[in-house]
Every structure is written in structure tokens, then in C-alpha cells.
Amino acid sequence: AQTVTQSQPEMSVQEAETVTLSCTYDTSESDYYLFWYKQPPSRQMILVIRQEAYKQQNATENRFSVNFQKAAKSFSLKISDSQLGDAAMYFCAYRSTFGNEKLTFGTGTRLTIIP
């Protein structure tokens, strides 16, 4: 079974600075998806960024980018120019391309933005 580990329960960053959230995962599969979801106080799960394992290029969405290291099974999220609205819980998630294709989540990192 796949597992996802987020070793940083809490992180904080000064507004306008850059922060990196860590995620590692364990799998025996070669093809899969990785995601970062954001959960603000409203509880809604919002997709931040996705990465397909077969793509070597790191995904980027505006101020959000990932560092995907397939051999090391690492998938970190970098947030540049942090804004107050980035404050939330961030969840790393893994999804197989086979079977029921469920998402397996990490335990989350709570990000605080310091004005």
C-alpha cells in the first residue's frame, strides 16, 4: 500500500517570502499522480498543483511550483511571494493510475503567514 508522509506539522513564513513544504511517499508503482491540496478555514479542499510521475518537468502554477524527485520519492511544494491568503492546511496526496484510483493523503502541514 502507498503511504504519504509530511514531516512538518506546522510552518510559518513572512509575507512576500518563499517557503517550501516537504512530502515523501512510498510506492512500488512507476506511474502515478501527485497532488498538493489546500484546505483553508472554510474546509473546502482546493487543488493547488498536480504532477504526473512520467513527466520529468516540475509542475508550476503561478507562485506555486514543485520539486519532484522520483528516485527519492520526494514531492515538495514551493510557494513564492507568500500572501496572507496562502494561510491554510496543505495536504500532499498520491493517486495510482490503476485500480480504484483513490487519493492517499499525508497528515498535512499548517502554514501560517506572518504579516
Binding site: R43, E52, F91, R95, N100, K102, L103, F105
Partner: protein, 114 residues
């Protein structure tokens, strides 16, 4: 386009009561899921469905039941509610493979069992 809609958003139950959390999606997704999120934790899969008439257990199915009579609807039934079922419940849906891999989530339902 409403996406994934869950009702109710909040509910308080007494121990031993039963209830159904409703979930409907209007994106014609084949796959639907129920997750629960306990405080400070990630989401754990309760049940999932890969299409109408097909359901299967996830990681934490005990105390719950589901049905999938239509593509749109995937209700979650709690029988004999227990304090351990106090949690926030999320319904989600997605296309089947191949697809973008993304799950679309509802806004969650906060359930308290006293």
C-alpha cells in the same frame, strides 16, 4: 455548474441515532468517494464507487454503508452513531482513468455525536 454538493453541512446526533449524508455531483463522473477527516489529520477513505451499482470499502468502513443507484448520487449512511464517528466528512468525485487525476471535493459535513 454546482460540482459536488453535500448536505447537511452541520449535524449533531445522539449516540445510537442514524442518519444519511447526501452527496450529488453534476459532472457525470464515474468515480465517487467518501472520506472522513479527524482533527489534525489527513483524509481517510471510507467507501468508494467506480460506477452506478458498484461500491467497495476503503480504509475505515466500519459503522457506515453506502449505495450508488445513479451516477449522480452517493449517499453515506451512519447506523447507530458513536462518538468515534465525530468528524468532518467529505464527498469527492472524479473521472475514471485516463484523466487528469484530480478529485473534486464537496464543502464537507461536520458531524458531532454526543
Amino acid at each position: 455548474n454546482a460540482g459536488v454538493t453535500q448536505t447537511p453541512k452541520f449535524r449533531i446526533l445522539k449516540i445510537g441515532q442514524s442518519m444519511t449524508l447526501q452527496c450529488t455531483q453534476d459532472m457525470n463522473h464515474n468515480y465517487m468517494y467518501w472520506y472522513r477527516q479527524d482533527p489534525g489529520m489527513g483524509l481517510k477513505l471510507i467507501y468508494y464507487s467506480v460506477g452506478a451499482g458498484i461500491t467497495d470499502k476503503g480504509e475505515v468502513p466500519n459503522g457506515y454503508n453506502v449505495s450508488r443507484s445513479t451516477t449522480e448520487d452517493f449517499p453515506l449512511r451512519l447506523e447507530l452513531a458513536a462518538p468515534s464517528q465525530t468528524s468532518v466528512y467529505f464527498c469527492a468525485s472524479s473521472y475514471g482513468h485516463p484523466n487528469t487525476g484530480e478529485l473534486f471535493f464537496g464543502e464537507g459535513s461536520r458531524l458531532t455525536v454526543l
